[in-house]
Symmetry: C2
Subunit: 144 residues, 2 copies
């Protein structure tokens, strides 16, 4: 599975004229190992070898290539996770106290209902949906 992941990421990078360097590979592996989006400080702590500016730059490149997704929460740091089609469709539990993010998967029924609602809104407003986010904001177990 990891092999396939790297192959796919490499393809997408090539698609935007970029190489799959060892640092980019390290970032992808870091994101694949964690089950929640990472901020740049998180990344720098987890891998002390990386230069901050390169992490910013490489995550931007990976985002542009469609391999990584940027998640905006409520605190000051942006977070990054692998693109959904490289992992699986999921949503976020965002802690309003610490800014941390955990993943969760919604029930198929909920997703079906959401999908139907999206179609309705789209036809009613002329808005073209690309994707949706169904996040819960609250207090995580650790902060409670």
């Amino acid at each position: 599975m990891p092999d396939e992941l790297h192959t796919t990421v490499a393809e997408r990078l090539r698609g935007v004229g970029q190489r799959y360097t060892s640092q980019r590979r390290a970032l992808v592996e870091l994101l694949a190992e964690t089950r929640h989006p990472l901020s740049i400080p998180d990344v720098l702590v987890l891998d002390g070898e990386l230069a901050q500016s390169s992490v910013y730059r490489n995550l931007a490149v990976l985002t542009q290539a469609g391999a990584v997704h940027r998640v905006v929460t409520t605190d000051d740091f942006a977070r990054y996770e692998l693109a959904e089609d490289l992992t699986h469709h999921h949503h976020h539990l965002i802690c309003s106290a610490c800014g941390g993010v955990e993943d969760y998967t919604a029930s198929p029924q909920l997703e079906r209902t959401v999908a139907r609602a999206i179609t309705e809104v789209s036809t009613a407003t002329g808005f073209t949906p690309e994707h949706h986010r169904l996040d819960l904001i609250g207090i995580c177990a650790a902060c409670a």
Copy 2:
């Protein structure tokens, strides 16, 4: 209705030891008149009398008092709207091209399903939900 709005906001401000000044009233009226969240630049354009730092400060105060809600999108600007219990429960259409935000209201069925799902997640994970956001990210009619 506007009267009641101001009364409620005044109460909440008092609740956190703050006054309902004319500038804060102006901000609330601005937010009440618009049907989508406003960024600080938006506010400064709409009311040229206001000082930037005061707008930041007063929106922070109003947020703390629970009268205003801060909306994070994908662009660089935070946006602000009246708290949901002062208006009505709704969700957002976020344009990934221009960063603009429009409101929309979900069907009661969708909200019911979401509410059920939230209860499930809550009991399963120990996460205490305060509220949820069901946003659609895509291209708005103007940018299409």
